[in-house]
Amino acid sequence: MENYHHGFKLTQTDNAIELFLLGEWNKQSLPAIIEQLSSVSFNQNSLHIDFSQLRTCDSSAIIYLISFIKKFELNYKITLNNMGKFEALYILYSNYYTPIPENTIEKDYAYWLKTIGIYTVSLYIETLRIMNFIGEVIYYLFVSVFTFKSIRLKTMLNHIETSAVNALFIIGVTSFLVGIVIAYQGSVQLEKFGANIFIVEMVSITMFREIAPLMTAIVIAGRTASSYTAEIGAMKITEEIDAMKTMGFEPTLFLTLPRVFALIISLPLLIFFSDLVSVFAGSIVAYLDLNITFTEFYNRMKDTVELRHFLIGIFKGIFFGIAIAMIGCYRGFQVQNNTTSIGKYTTMSVVNAIFIVIALNAIFSVILTQSGL
């Protein structure tokens, strides 16, 4: 026989157990009660539960009692005595009592096969969607070029400001630092051969042709692709995009194209800016480290560095801009109506955008070099 202040008291006779519930049964006292009750062994075949000394009983406790009773119901004759004020509570909760459902998921034997299937189908659907999206953009691109009025000039300028003008500082700083690093490392090597003056070609060509476009595009991919995805994703969640569709405002025309145009225009300009800053940084290193004056540096650049290197960099920028803006928008439209998906698709858009920029750059590099440019 045991006695607890909040808990229960047991009286055992030959063929029946009397269980007196005592004191307060609630969420706080329940864990101890459960532990003590589970250590009791019931050998008799009928169980009387007495509620007369129970002061309070909250919903968790009554649910526990019901589950306790259900467990013993099969083998025991159970009677509930002196329920009093708890009767209604007991009845209400037994009506709604729901045990944990058995796990109905069948064992999957061909799990890996199923996984491959699911991935294949989703890859196929994703490809179709991307094609559809690109098609839509191209279609509305032509529509808006032929009917000039439908270009959202104001929105476009707004996007140019937020994604290009506001990025000038960060692009300036990174270009300056990269320019210094490349020139500095180069100057150490060139000095060994006494080929100091070649620092001009080295810095200018690598910057114009490869580094400045790539770096600018990566900064913009991190900065702008993410913001496009988050903007459009938030609009998707607040049903603004659905509202636009019902009003006959084509989202591609109103949201995607202004962003694509904004980057087509601004990315080449940003690359030009990056060219200026990084080559200037290179000339500073050349002056300090190799004693090449600024006049010498720029005169030689004018003589030996061909214009095509510069133009190739700018030209690549147009494609990077299209890719970044389209990826940002495409991922934005994929956002579903829950809070985690904005984060998911924003991450995806940045990763995709950076990857595509690097891949495009590699393709351009091979094609242009092979064709002798």
């Binding site: 919903s59 649910i63 526990y64 209400l92 579903q336 829950n338």
Partner: protein, 243 residues
């Protein structure tokens, strides 16, 4: 016993006066309604009661404690005693339905896991949802279902005070009916005090023991029958179309 005591509460947003010296009490075991037109500060008022919004002037006492001066520890205890049903459910989108219902029990009690699950499933059945939606995520539920899950979540902890912000908006009439019946039944059996912000006539008529009507100050304080008999033009106008 007074569960909530509001004294000379004034709230302004910019130049816009929302509450002008409100004073009223909510008694224990009441189902108390807060009514008023759009923008009359109903939600603001109950948000202030659960310390989601700051009290600007006047005092609010909930469970005999001034809500503006609670220490961190006191507010933890306070929060275990109140539950708030948000207008659109505010379910955690990263948890499934059952985990949403059992999250408070998991964090604040030492109950065994299978009992917590059973409590969650029982509450799910209680608010009238099928077992098939137990493993769904909030984004896969309809607006009405979200609300029911939110109610189940609020009930699972068995609070002393239950705050409901427009619990029946967006529910179909028969669901509203059963929702109302459930609230009345639970209030009686679990000794809850329920504070409801509502527009629903069915709720006003059949559920509320008393309500206040906000119009900057308190335009009316009493029950439905008294409101119908009132001669004040604003109150007559408010209930004009509701018969």
């Amino acid at each position: 016993m007074e569960i909530v005591e509001v004294n000379n509460l004034s709230t302004t947003f910019g130049n816009n006066i929302i509450h002008d010296k409100l004073s009223f009490n909510v008694e224990e075991n009441e189902i108390f309604g807060i009514l008023g037109g759009s923008g009359s500060g109903k939600t603001t008022l109950i948000r202030q009661m659960v310390i989601l919004q700051e009290v600007q002037q006047g005092t609010i006492h909930v469970l005999n404690q001034n809500v503006s001066t609670l220490t961190l520890k006191q507010s933890q205890v306070f929060k275990a005693n109140v539950a708030y049903l948000f207008q659109f459910g505010a379910l955690y989108s990263f948890l499934n339905v059952i985990d949403n219902i059992s999250v408070m029990l998991k964090e604040y009690t030492h109950l065994p896991d299978d009992l917590i699950q059973t409590i969650a499933y029982t509450n799910l059945t209680m608010v009238g949802l099928p077992l098939s939606c137990a493993k769904l995520y909030p984004s896969q539920l309809s607006g009405g279902m979200k609300k029911r899950v939110a109610l189940a979540r609020a009930l699972a902890m068995q609070p002393k005070i239950l705050f409901l912000d427009e619990p029946t908006s967006g529910l179909d009439p028969s669901s509203t009916q059963s929702f109302n019946e459930l609230i009345v039944q639970l209030q009686k059996l679990l000794n809850l005090t329920v504070i409801i912000v509502t527009h629903d006539l069915n709720t006003i008529k059949n559920v509320l023991t008393r309500f206040i009507l906000l119009d900057k100050s308190i335009a009316f304080n009493g029950n439905y029958q008294e409101a119908l008999n009132s001669e004040v033009p604003f109150i007559k106008n408010f209930f004009k179309h509701k018969d």
